[in-house]
Symmetry: C2
Subunit: 319 residues, 2 copies
């Protein structure tokens, strides 16, 4: 394996070299010194892609829908990069990998690039790696960057929040609607789609979802999330769905909410990376931590006071 | 409302005053200056209670089982404090609150104290507040402290990990077993129980759970987690379950694994509190963060470099 030369790889990837692109993503996932250098080289070219987050409960048809959307975008001549994130624990994930394979219809297409990312122990790491990977695709000129993940918890919400437009998928059936509410997906959706709309109960799901979305607290001039009925396997409703995503993009640009959201995203990312740096500095103080833990266990020190000692040692200036 | 006088409240709570105890828990949840003072006053009295964590998927009968265990412990003359943690988002949680009400049979009993804790926006806050609340009950002389929470994700695992002994509940049905594996509960259980063991499929669930538990990587001399069949509503198997929990306690004491686990717990708690202190220091730098976010958005600064500037400003000494 040749060592990665960041300026050469960045130039090659921006020129369409897919292997260079794949290596850049691996490098920014790895978070070494070359990741920093790559970040610096790429950041001037970022900000042009429409970043779309797609999530929903397992089985609603995320990959099929993503695949159908890609078909539509490609027919319009637009290029698409996909980051498929699987944050589940190592010994599940079989179903998701199967879904990924279906998306590989697009793997021979020049205008599409699909990348899977799996959790390697740390969820925080994954939530941090996703925006970095998105930035690589953005800087390499993809018109759309899709971040797809299973909507089951806070970590997935964190992942999908790095998007300009969040699409929440549903399917007919009581369970899914409850899951969506429980997982907090209702609050973060900009566009909703009910997949498998040819199935019994689809109209009811659609109606209930609409009423749930409409009951979100909303100010005058806010974006009103549409609910689109689709049958992803037949590409039914996909054109309308793509239009709804585009309409949200245009609304966000015109209203200034895109800039606000991206500022917020940048802020979260900086905070996350800073927290990571702090954790690193703390973990270098293994002896101090062992000593303080023993003191707490012996009843000689309160954990709060122990934490204060750690902060002081690392250099953080507290009140 | 009278202001809390920490030394007076601590003395009263340790003397059996339940209102003082409740106020102490509220104070340590609040994390103000009085929380620190209370922590310092209580820490010399901690370390005696057997802390039992109870978790499992929704509907397996956590509250019923906890209730049956309490009955058994009370008959042995042992006192029990319960922290029931509900980390779900504000607009779910109905079912859990209903479960809580059932536990209130014990609310008139002098030897039992039950406290519910709900998420208030921040999961990190809840994971931090739980061990503090456990410490209050421990220092106030409860023989057993139970931490009960729904087993659905990483945050719940973090919560239940503050226990000396972790009990994972299951019920007959394929879904639950898969959920348990998915949620990572299999790895953290010290004792497993299959509730509703009079239902069809219970024997199969029991058998499969045993084989899953037995397939955990295990060294010679490690604790081998038992799987106990129970019917919590009829108190069937509850004595055996209590014995299994006690056996784990005795094994942990004798083998030294209790001390190792508690050291690890103290370390995690210190780290969590230190991370909280760092976040606080960072959030005081709103202007710097706004400026850096704008620079990132404009493509003039890489987020990694922005994070480095934050760390430097807060005072963290990095490489």
């Amino acid at each position: 394996v040749r060592t990665l030369d960041p300026p050469v790889a960045v130039a090659a990837a921006r020129d369409g070299d897919r292997r260079a692109l794949a290596r850049l993503i691996s490098a920014v996932e790895g978070r070494g010194d070359s990741a920093r250098q790559i970040g610096r080289l790429l950041v001037p070219f970022t900000g042009h892609a429409h970043v779309v987050g797609i999530t929903g409960a397992p089985g609603v048809g995320k990959s099929t829908t993503t695949s159908a959307l890609i078909d539509g975008w490609r027919k319009q001549g637009r290029t698409v990069g996909v980051i498929a994130v699987d944050p589940s624990s190592p010994f599940t994930g079989g179903a998701l990998l199967g879904d990924r394979v279906r998306m590989s219809d697009h793997s021979t297409d020049e205008g599409t690039f699909i990348r899977s990312m799996a959790a390697r122990g740390q969820l925080g790491g994954l939530a941090a790696a996703t925006p970095a990977a998105v930035r690589v695709l953005d800087a390499c000129g993809f018109d759309l960057v899709v971040v797809e993940t299973v909507g089951v918890g806070q970590s997935e919400i964190d992942i999908v929040r790095c998007a300009d437009t969040v699409l929440i998928l549903q399917a007919p059936g009581m369970g899914d609607r409850v899951q969506t509410a429980k997982a907090g997906l209702l609050e973060i959706g900009d566009v909703f789609a009910v997949n498998k709309s040819d199935r019994p109960g689809a109209a009811a799901t659609n109606r209930e979802l609409k009423s749930m979305v409409d009951s979100r607290p909303m100010a005058a001039g806010d974006w009103r999330p549409p609910v689109v009925a689709i049958v992803a396997v037949e590409a039914t409703g996909i054109a309308e769905l793509a239009e709804a995503l585009e309409a949200h993009r245009e609304f966000s640009l015109a209203s200034g909410s895109l800039t606000a959201r991206r500022l917020d995203r940048a802020r979260s990312e900086i905070l996350g990376l800073a927290a990571g740096g702090f954790q690193e500095a703390v973990s270098e103080r293994a002896q101090l931590l062992a000593h303080l833990s023993e003191q707490v266990l012996a009843g000689r020190l309160d954990p709060d006071d122990a934490a204060h000692q750690v902060l002081t040692d690392v250099g953080v200036r507290t009140r």
